[in-house]
């Protein structure tokens, strides 16, 4: 055995099986290349400005914001699992807690990274903290996401310090232990922060009086999208976790968690999706009949621009809402792996669609009588920089999976290779 492989093996948890060093390295290579390309593209954007993107004055938000909103919603699994485990004491979800933390950390750090390229003047980003406009949903988002990223970091550190070699340093192990004991506090803070920023991301669009397609009335300072985003995020978070766990099991060919845990995730997701769909339907009706007409806009006009027809609205509510909710709640389908995964896919797809509609359709639609319907196609730099976030996520997750006890039960229960 080559010496690097031996050295590598010494960093892997004792008692679990991981693929060979060579295979792991080969797995990382394409992702590393994608990451390098994306970093180059991001560098172009930072060096030459956002003219490297295909955004324009009429389409000031593009792919990045859409995907940022999406991955932040999908990353909601991190706080929500923490909330379920530590606050509501759902003990069995402990099995996916570490993986939730890592996924959350990847999603949030990736989103913040992309945001730093997306803003025109990243060096002035701290102005938001120093001179905050507390009326702006974006201020709220910035504060909460930053705080929550710190929280996630401190939730991730215990997992990191559990690495076989790092653990050997007594001070690391003791700190990990002490921090871990306090993690419920962080989980509580994370829950508070997440509720607010997930909501504010929705509020971001709901407050746009000038964009009647997105504008919503609501309670006090919060438009209805505020609550819908919270709901949809906590509905999709568990589904995404379910997907990620299943995907990792599939890719590695190892059993990592009990199927009952996945079912539990599915049921939680199904329940919340059902609530979300109901709320979304009520909100849509209120918007169609009240909000939009009061601003002088005939709501069906918004759907007269192809391809953004009413089918999109129906797809969002029925195909990506009602259908997976039923699949996840019906005992027959909810206990079958295939159905479970398909339903989770639909829920996550629904989140993507919702964020897409709010970002892209809102901007594409005309407001003034003489506006034109505009379209936008992201440039390679935009796609590549986002690809870098995906690559970064895969790499961080792969490293975490290989070297950290993401699934502690794997060793305790002595799972062995299934199939193969």
């Amino acid at each position: 055995m080559a010496s690097y492989a031996v050295a590598d093996r010494r960093w892997i948890e004792r008692g679990v099986e991981r693929t060979s060093t060579l295979r792991f390295a080969l797995w990382l290579v394409p992702w590393a290349l994608l990451l390098a390309l994306g970093v180059y593209a991001a560098g172009l954007c930072l060096r030459f400005g956002l003219n490297q993107t295909n955004m324009d004055n009429r389409f000031p938000f593009g792919l990045w914001i859409f995907l940022d909103l999406s991955i932040i919603a999908l990353g909601a699994g991190a706080f929500f699992t923490g909330f379920l485990v530590y606050i509501l004491k759902f003990k069995e979800l402990k099995a996916v807690l570490n993986t939730a933390v890592v996924v959350g950390f990847i999603c949030y750090s990736g989103a913040v990274g992309i945001l730093m390229i997306d803003v025109g003047q990243p060096l002035r980003a701290w102005f938001t903290f120093w001179h905050p406009n507390t009326h702006s949903m974006l201020t709220e988002v910035t504060f909460c996401i930053t705080c929550y990223l710190v929280v996630l970091l401190f939730e991730y550190i215990p997992v990191l310090l559990r690495n076989r070699q790092l653990r050997r340093v007594p001070s690391f192990l003791i700190f990990e232990h002490r921090l871990h004991l306090l993690v419920p506090v962080l989980a509580a803070v994370g829950t508070l922060l997440s509720f607010f920023h997930q909501g504010s991301l929705g509020g971001l669009y709901g407050v746009l009086r000038g964009r009647p397609f997105a504008f919503r009335e609501g309670i006090a300072i919060w438009p209805s999208t505020f609550f819908l985003f919270i709901l949809s995020a906590i509905a999709a978070g568990p589904s995404f976790l379910l997907l990620i766990t299943s995907l990792v099991e599939k890719v590695t060919g190892r059993k990592l968690v009990e199927f009952s845990v996945l079912c539990r995730l599915g049921r939680i997701s199904g329940l919340l999706t059902a609530v979300y769909v109901a709320a979304k339907a009520v909100d849509t009706l209120a918007w169609l009949n009240r909000t939009s007409p009061s601003l002088g806009f005939a709501p069906w006009e918004f759907y007269s621009y192809k391809p953004f027809g009413t089918w999109l609205m129906l797809a969002e509510i029925v195909l990506f809402g009602l259908v997976p909710a039923v699949l996840l709640l019906h005992p027959k389908t909810a206990s079958r792996r295939g159905w479970l995964i398909s339903a989770a896919l639909l829920v996550c797809g629904g989140i993507l669609l919702n964020r897409f509609i709010l970002t892209v359709q809102t901007l594409a639609l005309p407001t003034l009588a003489f506006d034109e319907f505009v379209s936008y196609l992201p440039s390679w730099q935009e796609v590549a920089s986002f690809g870098a976030v995906v690559a970064y996520g895969v790499i961080v997750y792969s490293l975490s999976y290989r070297y950290l006890p993401l699934f502690p039960q794997e060793k305790r229960e002595g799972y062995r290779v299934s199939g193969r």
Binding site: G49, L50, N51, M55, D56, N57, R58, F59, P60, F61, D118, V119, G120, Q121, P122, R124, A125, F127, T128, W130, H131, P132, N133, H135, S136, M137, L138, T139, T142, L204, V207, L208, R209, G210, R211, P212, S294, L295, G296, F297, A298, E301, S304, Y305, T362, L363, P366, T367, L368, A369, F370, D371, E372, F373, V374
Partner: protein
């Protein structure tokens, strides 16, 4: 100093669509010439003139030229409330919606919020051919890439008017000293500018006329830029479109 609400009434019947206002605006505010790859959607035109047709065909077809700039909204100002770092505010003394590119971090949220598309992002660093920087207006700082800018109602001219008044120990600005570049440039005198808070001013009277209207008034943003036209179809442009886009073709 008394509170003012600067605004304008633009007579769309008199606009010939020459674009003098647009160029004068750019020159006054040190807006650079377009970057080679800039288009009508990535350029910087704090004031742009939009041709709009009445949708008819044949000899009945007509166009109107609508100068569009920041509407200086007075209520629910969409851009002010969304800016995360207070780079935009409604100036309490003048009612001007002010955009501070030096405070801006370029998140472009205000651009999504603005229903009038009156905000422009600096997609490129500004560039002038060598030596042309000598022609920059000393009253206006140039912007840099990555920030949003818009019409600030030629605030440097207000500064100059204030300075001039102060030098004469006057607190009130002489209205003749503060005329935005577009108003000055219009060859047909289609733009009337002044203090809307002063009920007796020509602009306030014109804004009250039945032919006067504002764009998307139902949004409740209370713009201080009014338009006027004798033609009903032009006045109808104030409302959002109610016919699908494919039926409306622009010549």
């Amino acid at each position: 100093m008394k509170k003012r609400r600067y605004g304008m009434v633009i007579d769309l019947d008199r606009c010939t669509g020459c674009g003098a206002c647009s160029v004068a605006c750019a020159a006054e505010n040190n807006v650079p010439p377009a970057a080679p790859r800039a288009t009508e959607r990535t350029g910087i035109t704090p004031l742009r003139v939009q041709p709009v047709s009445n949708g008819a065909s044949g000899p009945a077809r007509r166009e109107v030229f609508i100068p569009l700039m920041c509407m200086q909204c007075g209520e629910h100002t969409p851009c002010v409330s969304v800016c995360p770092q207070q780079a935009v505010e409604v100036d309490s003394a003048t009612g001007i919606v002010t955009q501070m590119p030096q405070r801006c971090l370029g998140c472009r949220y205000c651009m999504t919020a603005c229903p009038y598309h009156a905000r422009y992002f600096n997609w490129w660093d500004p560039e002038w051919p060598a030596g042309m920087e000598k022609t920059l207006n000393p009253g206006v700082a140039t912007r840099m890439r990555g920030v949003v800018e818009k019409c600030n109602l030629c605030h440097s001219r207000l500064h100059a008017a204030e300075d001039k008044a102060a030098a004469a120990n006057q607190r009130e600005v002489n209205p003749a000293d503060y005329v935005p570049a577009c108003v000055e440039a219009c060859p047909t005198g289609a733009i009337l500018f002044g203090d809307l808070a002063d009920e007796t001013s020509a602009v306030a009277r014109a804004a009250r006329a039945p032919q006067a209207f504002r764009l998307l008034e139902k949004l409740g943003t209370e713009p201080k830029v009014y338009y006027r036209s004798n033609r009903p179809w032009v006045r109808a442009l104030a409302e959002p479109r109610t016919v699908p886009a494919k039926e409306v073709q622009r010549g």
